[in-house]
Symmetry: C2
Subunit: 228 residues, 2 copies
């Protein structure tokens, strides 16, 4: 580990010196090694942590207080499973001032978990988030049918399985911290990938429905024209 000054840390991380100092004060970035009354040196682990903070804020769109909680979870976790659970709990905190989910939606989530063979501790934040999302769709007059909910669970299941198996099949380093960081970061940073692919897919299906190719005879069209 080659020590570096703040200026070099700023250059390598792409973040300004005032921003880095702010992260130090807020406890997002561990202190450097003091080399005098007012100067400190930093190393590669600081560059890595700053890149992680930038990715979590810019790409995953997390607020700084949430980023801090996720980082604390990474730093204190002892296993992949713990760290992901901890990060999920902390990320779930974003809606903490919202109303609790209705009993009806919680019962729907329980039924879904049972049919999928999934277990969650009672009061688990993800079950509550799911129930609250179902309530919100009800409230705005677009309830999600049981068919749709089951379809989502069924379609997402293989994604979750592949993701966990990928992480487990990677060579495990000496440091559990690196493994844990990897799992949490991948989970969060692939959320925009999943949502972007879904929207790109929607736009393309929608376009196909709206604009059948003019040179395709009607009986050869993939999507029959609909009256509207």
């Amino acid at each position: 580990m080659i020590p570096m000054w703040m200026a070099e840390l700023s250059r390598l991380s792409g973040l300004s010196v005032p921003t880095i100092k702010f992260y130090l004060r807020e406890g997002l970035l561990p202190a450097g090694t003091a080399t005098g009354a007012t100067r400190s040196t930093y190393d590669e682990s600081h560059v890595r942590r700053l890149r992680l903070i930038r990715a979590l804020t810019d790409v995953a769109g997390l607020r700084l207080d949430t980023v801090k909680q996720v980082l604390d979870g990474i730093d204190s976790a002892e296993s992949w499973h713990d760290a992901v659970g901890s990060a999920h709990t902390r990320l779930a905190g974003t809606g903490e001032d919202s109303a609790p989910p209705t009993e009806a939606s919680l019962a729907r989530v329980d039924a879904l978990l049972e049919i999928q063979g999934w277990q969650l501790a009672p009061g688990h934040p993800q079950a509550e988030i799911l129930a609250r999302a179902l309530d919100a769709l009800d409230e705005v007059g677009h309830p999600m049918s049981e068919d749709m909910l089951w379809f989502y669970a069924h379609a997402i299941r293989p994604i979750a399985m592949e993701e966990v198996l990928w992480v487990h099949s990677d060579e495990h380093g000496e440091e559990i911290e690196a493994d844990v960081e990897s799992a949490v970061v991948r989970t969060i940073l692939t959320e925009p990938v999943i949502l972007a692919l879904r929207r790109i897919g929607q736009e393309n299906v929608s376009r196909q429905l709206n604009e059948p190719k003019p040179d395709v005879p009607p009986d050869m069209r993939m999507w029959p024209e609909r009256d509207r």
Copy 2:
């Protein structure tokens, strides 16, 4: 439409009077019908709009300025396809102060779109979001392999198709505004459903890998124990 006073609007929407007045000032909620110098009445459309704002902020976690842009997009769109495209563009604006994606990642996205038979206009925000997410994973040292990226696209494709077909198969109301609102709201409000199901799935697969059932003989286990 039965007119109501502000107090009734507050009761039905579950939002405080100061909050509603703030939304009126910010242009998130259309003005009511003036019935005097200082009093106005509101109707069911105001209740509906307030519930929508609450869902977009609390459940989808959008910032108020993004909510305003999404609502403006809904109000001015002329078709489902336009509205979803517009909402996607506006939602994509959250990372506008981030660095542009690298050429390498944009080329990967182009290759993915081609293999999936998908088209997007050049510079389309979702292509940029996707490319930026790939860059972020690179930067934090967890690059997404081509296999993984293609797996995601393949796994998400049927979700996008079902969603668009569901909306199209619904009876279309007289008001295009209601259709458009429905499509945009469903797209945004089902994001937490998708992400929560993914995390619940991950936790369950992870738990299965960590804790094989003690009463299952090793050769019957679904997940062989791994050295770690």
